[in-house]
Amino acid sequence: MKRNRTPPGTRGPAWILAPLPFNLLCVTVGCVLLAHAPHMPAWYTAALLAIVAVRWWQRRRQHRRVSAWLRIVLLVSVLATTIAVYGSPFGREPGAAIVCGLLVIKVLESERLRDARMAIGFACFILMSALLFDESLWFTIMVGLMLLPALATLRALEPGLPESRWLPAFRTGGVLLAASLPAALLGFLLIPRLAMPLWGAPDNGVASTGISDRMAPGDLHSLLTNDAVAMRIGFDGAPPPDGQRYFRGMVLWDFDGQAWLPGAAARRPWPPGRVATRGPVTRYEVTLLASHQHWLFALDVPVEAPEGVQLGPDHTLWSIKPVDQTLRYRVASATGYRLAPEDLDPRLRAAALELPPGFDPRARELAEQWRAAAGANDTRIIQDALTLFHDGGFVYDLDAPPLGRDSIDDFLFDTRTGFCEHYASAFTFLMRAAGIPARVVVGYQGGYWNDFAHYLLIRQSDAHAWSEVWLAGRGWVRIDPTAAVSRVIMASTGGAAGDVGGGGRNWWMPWRDRLDIVNRWWGQTVVGFDALNQSRLFRPFGIEHTTVRMLGITLAVIVFLALGVGALLTSLRPRGKPRDALAAAQLRLQHRLARIGIVRGMTEGPNHFYLRTAATLPESAPVLLDLGAEYVALRYAYSEPPPEQVRVFVRRVRHFRPRHMVK
């Protein structure tokens, strides 16, 4: 066994992964795992991070490979875990969890430069896929910055970097990242957008956030503690006053004893009844974030539907396609209105009075008592109910106790603790039991008015449920029974702001609301830059509609121009001209070696360079050592190298082909 002597400054054969790039690779993979952490189970992320950390520690202490068996076991565990957690290996979340696991296994087997390069490419792809889960500005910036360690790793994989120096690698990474920004911007603006996504990322049909069309006690709880933005509304004129900021989503007609559902009445083409408006009509634009539902939200009560959207009989907006992407639409609403004041369609009246038999006897009894006392005076019954909520020891609390089979009875007579949906549900039930047509409306209420950018910000925590009762001569009247509750216990989670009018919020919340301007800009300008916006790109230049072809040509022209300017600048840059034939031959040899990964450092002496190269390419070592001795002597042992010997050297260099490729 003959062992090659390695010259000082190099460490093992050149294709073995050195500690610095390996460390950087571990950092990169850590970043990728953190970017995906929000949607993966915490223990899964922690386990993957721990595996990377253990491997890093182990490789630091001793240079030993991870056995193939262990990697196979890990592979099987990743697949099994994913299927166990998500139920299927297909879909967005399970897919991301699997590729994160695969990336970690790739780190375990990364022993060579080639492995590390592949791992980095893989890591960048997985890092970018995190944007499928979150498109917000902050997350995008964070993902962009997480590319830094990846680029630094690529730099560290190239030769010529001082050992164990992180900073130069990161500096190169930063320069690369900054240099890629114009190209990214160009691609963003000019690469033709598809009107529809190329592939629908299946997310197993689970609506992660937003109001659903079923309301049972406790259903809204997760929503009321959720700070995610639901929609943003810009008004043409002044915004409606606080008390009128009710955004109607859907109307629930059917009660099955537990939950309120839209029911048949919501979808029948029965005449909705006339709307008599008073006062001006409010016009506004809504930017609704993806809700994966058909319902659109509008200020109570919409009078004109946007294009492609149906105005339902109960004055709700229903879109044919579910809102799977951010949707912008314009609506007109009347805040002073009378809804079907003259007469109620008998079928609607029947639907608005229906109660499931055999449920909640005590509530029915109470309602009948009220009816007996009030006679034909509906208003008095409403007053009785609101007085009950106000004075009957009822408490507003997000941590409402669970309710039994007779949920309304349990709530009204036992727990007396709940939030908007409990009150709306109980109130509507009482009204129906007393013979007053009533229904539940679900939507949003309140919101934060951003006075600086003039828009209303609605979060999921502004979700709300209220009631509408039909009174002869006045039509459907909005009653918000939650507002009657006098005692409020704020949940520690800080949500439910819309429900009770904003008290008790954290100090930073106003700032977060103000800073939402940036998110809004990002959502509208960047995330919302779709095929339609793109077709208007050249409007400032007088081109009304930009076709895909024009975009392609523009992109090609700019790319060609950029390449041309780059080539011109490179050719104009003063370049060291070789001093003579000897130097030219030496440069040629260096170029040839550089192509297979052996780069001579700027300050590396020729003696050292040849010795290092010979150690890296054992098969070519004799020739290289010969050439080196010749060059060094010709260049440095003579004042004027003998032409005959220079010619021999030049000829030998021309015929030299490195025998071993660096991997």
Binding site: P7, G576, R579, A583, Q586, M602, T603, E604, G605, P606, N607, H608, Y610, L611, L625, G628, A629, V632, A633, R635, Y636, A637, Y638, S639
Partner: protein, 318 residues
């Protein structure tokens, strides 16, 4: 560079002094274990005809190095311990009146030696320091109007303690330039330290050393070193380094022409020690920091050696 490609084309220097040179190197290496490079550097300085400044904390072997060199090189050796009350005449000597002959007779000072150890040079007053430095530059001393040649070869090893600055007169930058090389010995590594602890007494070892070279050998080797080829490409490199030091933003005063000469001479001597009769860029790189480190005057508070290293890393090699 200890390793060299070029053996076929190298014309070895006259074999006899060469063998003696190797024997001298290995003998000093035996006394000062693990100090291969500083010792080689000291020899390069000797062969380049310069003087050596050893800057380090006490106890790392500065004086032992000087003793071992003196014993090995077969040179007449004197040592001056510099103190604040040392006078110039204590170094160069003084004329005393001889009653017998009725005239002044020059009493030679300790400077009339071939190898002079100037211990803790920064403890003496500037006046005394400059007496030594002038003698180093001229190779002669002038007392009472008469110039007296110093013996040849004349090699000064001065030591300086960089810490413990109380009551010292650090050599000014202009005077530092008179030392061709500045080296430090540093602490020994673990293995060398163990050998030091278990081995025999160093001063006894020094006492038993035999001379391996003679003054004549050294003069011959010096001539030999001066004749080592420096090709146009190498001179370009030396000039580029010197020019870079004058343009560097962090350097207030770059390298002087004398520094350029010293760099070339040291590189040649280094090549000679590597048994080559031509100079390589690697030789220049090897001696650059010891030659340039103490001559660069930084514009900001930067380490001089780090500055020299940075300079070296900014100039391309052909």
């Amino acid at each position: 560079m200890d390793q060299s490609l070029a053996t076929a084309t190298a014309a070895p220097i006259d074999s006899l002094p060469r063998q003696r040179l190797d024997a001298a190197l290995s003998q000093v290496n035996e006394v000062l274990v693990g100090k291969n490079r500083p010792i080689r550097m000291a020899f390069a300085c000797l062969l380049a005809g310069g003087h050596l400044l050893v800057e380090d904390v006490p106890g790392v072997g500065k004086t032992t190095l000087a003793h071992a060199l003196a014993a090995t090189l077969g040179l007449s050796f004197r040592r001056i311990q510099f103190t604040s009350d040392l006078l110039p005449s204590d170094i160069v000597g003084v004329s005393v009146f001889d009653r017998g002959s009725g005239e002044f007779r020059f009493q030679q000072g300790p400077i009339f030696a071939q190898l002079l150890l100037a211990d803790e040079i920064n403890r003496a007053t500037p006046k005394t320091q400059s007496a030594l430095l002038e003698a180093m530059a001229e190779g002669q001393v002038t007392v009472d109007g008469a110039s007296r040649m110093l013996p040849q070869p004349f090699f000064v090893v001065a030591t300086q303690n960089p810490l413990d600055m109380a009551g010292t007169y650090p050599l000014p930058d202009s005077q530092l330039d008179r030392f061709m090389l500045r080296i430090s010995l540093d602490y020994p590594d673990a293995e060398a330290e163990r050998r030091l602890l278990t081995g025999e007494n160093r001063s006894e070892m020094v006492g038993q050393l035999t001379s391996r070279l003679s003054g004549a050998d050294i003069l011959a080797l010096r001539r030999r070193a001066h004749a080592v080829t420096a090709s146009p490409a190498l001179l370009d490199y030396v000039q580029a380094l010197v020019a870079a030091s004058r343009k560097h933003p962090d350097i207030r005063t770059g390298l002087s022409p004398r520094a350029g000469l010293a760099l070339l001479a040291c590189a040649r001597a280094w090549a000679l020690l590597g048994d080559r009769d031509y100079t390589l860029p690697e030789d220049v790189q090897a001696v650059f920091v010891p030659v340039a480190g103490h001559r660069l005057i930084p514009a900001r508070s930067l380490g001089r050696d780090a500055l020299a290293q940075g300079l070296l890393e900014s100039v391309a090699v052909e």
